[in-house]
Amino acid sequence: MRRGSATRIALIYPELLGTYGDGGNAIVLEQRLRWRGLPAEVVNVPAGSPVPDSCDIYLLGGGEDAPQVLAADGIRQNRAIVRAVGSGAAVLAVCAGYQVIGATFPSGGEIHEGLNLVDIETRRSFAPPETPPPGRAVGDIVVEPDPRLHLPTLYGYENHAGRTRRLPGAGGFPLGVVRRGIGDGEGGGSDGGGGGTDGIVDGRVVGTYLHGPVLAQNPALADLLLTWIHGDLPPLEAPQEAQVLREARRRALAGS
């Protein structure tokens, strides 16, 4: 990170990958830098324009089927995100965006090629063909993050039809264990949830199914991404509202 210059946060194709409020992740990162007196700039990358390879953090959000394929085509063609990650940039990819940074994902009855940034694949189902595909995973989700991340419990909302798994020999590790909800859907429950994992952390790339937006509900994850770019950050007390929200979510989702 170049001291003094603004941290550049790229919001990738918000028209295509902005269906579920994930653009809020850019707002959270920008404000948490600004409140610490550090300059920040959100770079909107509209669909159809080239993705710059000079940003520090790349954000991809959730979207519907056709836009997801369009987005995957765009970021695969110019590979700027792969180059940027090679020189130290961080990535947060949510839901459709999470699927897109993997090897392959389903959409409109076909399997599409992803960015291959992380070693995961997504399908409607990994069960034998004769079993009916599982239902859409829709609802509150609670994830206990991998201890290596030193993060508190993650709260969010998931809304996806895909099931995701790590490829053999995959790098990195799952973001965490699903305490409530489905996540990647490799758990022991009949719906594929319960005790499975959600997401991936591989180097500075994070993928997850959590909306909310995930960084609004889990500011410690936002600060982790910022630390990867900045090194140690000055402490930030504000906003108290986020702590109140986490406490409200904890109470609302307790006992399940």
Partner: protein
């Protein structure tokens, strides 16, 4: 007659003997009697207007009842993500200049609610019917409406997987099957224009679209849409149709080649767009535009929307505004900006009818509320509070809308609520 206890037998008889035309099948005649009884019972028990329960039971008795009571009369169906209820009410007013009008004014907008609206005499009355987006094909197939109004399609209740493209596609297929129906469609919404393109006859209206984020991709070819001041177009050839009716100013409508002035009691440009859509539909059913607009002018509130109500016991009052999705919130922002900057109470829930996922508030430009006193309440007040904190809008958090109004710096506030919050407020304030 499970809904009617023994001592109410008199009601059974009176309902059975009230005029139900003989041209209906015996099954449907029975269904209409059941509808009437159930609605009466439901109202007596204080369980709302009774439209849902009555209509549900009637459809169970006679699944063909909707087609029987709904066809062979002048009907118009109003559908879209935002503005259905208001536009239906405006249309009902316009049609009222010709004679009696039936309408599901209670907001019960699925098949049972529509049936309930059509279940009372006179059975040849015109009807202005609000219909849920997903239910439109089912209802329209049954009643073959003379006119269908398609307002807009945007994100709403994402947890129900109501993908915008899927709704547009359903509507397009519907139009191909309704040979005698005219569609009145908003050209400023690409999803609506594409959907309406598949119908046999269109009346194109420019009603405006101040939320474009959900219509960036061409519904026909999935490539990105191009936009400029004049409209939108796609590389596949799909483009904004030329409107014959258009909102051209705060109080001005372009109407079949001439400019006419339109004054409404309902606030905001968005409601002028709704009025233009309703007037265009009324024209298809034989109402002159001057008469239609004059009839619409006196409407000041719709189901409590835009109405000023008492909040609590201490003389505090609030104007009620409904905003249940990003597009609706942006409309309310514009409306708030048109009036003196009162304190704003935001009442925000995420119950099933609201959509369980509150993430969409991050797409709403709450920064625009800066400079006002903002007070937050509702089941997801903490989520709204975080959103406002990141928007750097100072605010306070309260246990109820009444508490918030009490804490406001002025006696009259604007209350922006989403679906269940609005409904609950309306019930509490009308007690």
């Amino acid at each position: 007659m499970v809904f009617v206890s023994g001592h109410r037998r008199g009601t059974v008889e009176s309902a059975m003997t009230t005029s139900i035309p003989r041209r209906f099948t015996a099954r449907t005649q029975a269904a209409l009697a059941v509808e009437r009884l159930a609605a009466q019972a439901s109202r007596r028990l204080g369980r709302g207007s009774g439209e849902m329960i009555g209509g549900k039971l009637a459809l169970r008795v006679s699944p063909g009842a909707l087609a029987e009571v709904g066809s062979h009369r002048r009907t118009a169906c109003v559908s879209g993500t935002n503005g259905k209820t208001t536009t239906t009410r405006l249309l009902a007013r316009a049609l009222g200049t010709l004679g009696p009008v039936k309408s599901n004014s209670g907001g019960a907008n699925m098949a049972p609610g529509v049936l309930a609206a059509l279940s009372r005499p006179p059975f040849d009355a015109a009807a202005a019917l609000e219909v849920d987006e997903i239910w439109l094909p089912k209802v329209a197939h049954e009643i073959s409406p003379r006119v269908v109004l398609l307002l807009n399609i945007s994100r709403d209740q994402l947890d129900r997987s109501n993908e915008t493209r899927r709704i547009a596609s359903m509507w397009r297929e519907l139009g191909a099957e309704l040979r005698d129906t005219t569609v009145v469609a908003n050209v400023d919404d690409p999803l609506v224009a594409w959907a309406a393109g598949g119908w046999h006859r269109q009346v194109w209206v420019s009603a405006g679209q101040n939320w474009t984020a959900d219509a960036m991709v061409c519904p026909q070819c999935a490539r990105l849409l191009h936009r400029n001041e004049a409209g939108w177009w796609s590389e596949c050839g799909l483009a904004r149709p030329e409107p014959i009716v258009a909102v051209t100013g705060q109080r001005e409508i372009l109407w079949y080649g001439r400019t006419i002035s339109a004054r409404l009691d309902l606030p905001g440009r968005v409601n002028l767009g709704n009025a233009a859509m309703a007037a265009a539909a009324a024209r298809e059913l034989g109402v002159e535009v001057e008469a239609a607009l004059a009839a619409m002018a006196g409407l000041g509130d719709v189901q409590g929307r835009y109405q000023e109500v008492a909040l609590g016991e201490q003389g505090r009052r609030g104007r009620l505004l409904l905003a249940k999705n990003p597009a609706g919130w942006v409309e309310m922002m514009e409306l708030l900006a048109d009036a003196p900057p009162r304190p704003v109470v935001i009442d925000f829930n995420s119950q099933t009818a609201d959509g369980r996922d509150p993430s969409w508030i991050w797409d709403v430009p709450f920064e625009r509320l800066a400079g006002r006193q903002v007070l937050v309440t509702g089941g997801r007040k903490e989520d709204m509070s975080v959103r406002l904190a990141y928007a750097e809008v100072p605010h306070s958090v309260h246990a109820s809308a009444e508490d918030a109004a009490q804490a406001a710096n002025e006696k009259v506030v604007d209350v922006v609520a989403n679906y269940t919050a609005f409904r609950d407020l309306l019930v509490r304030s009308s007690r």
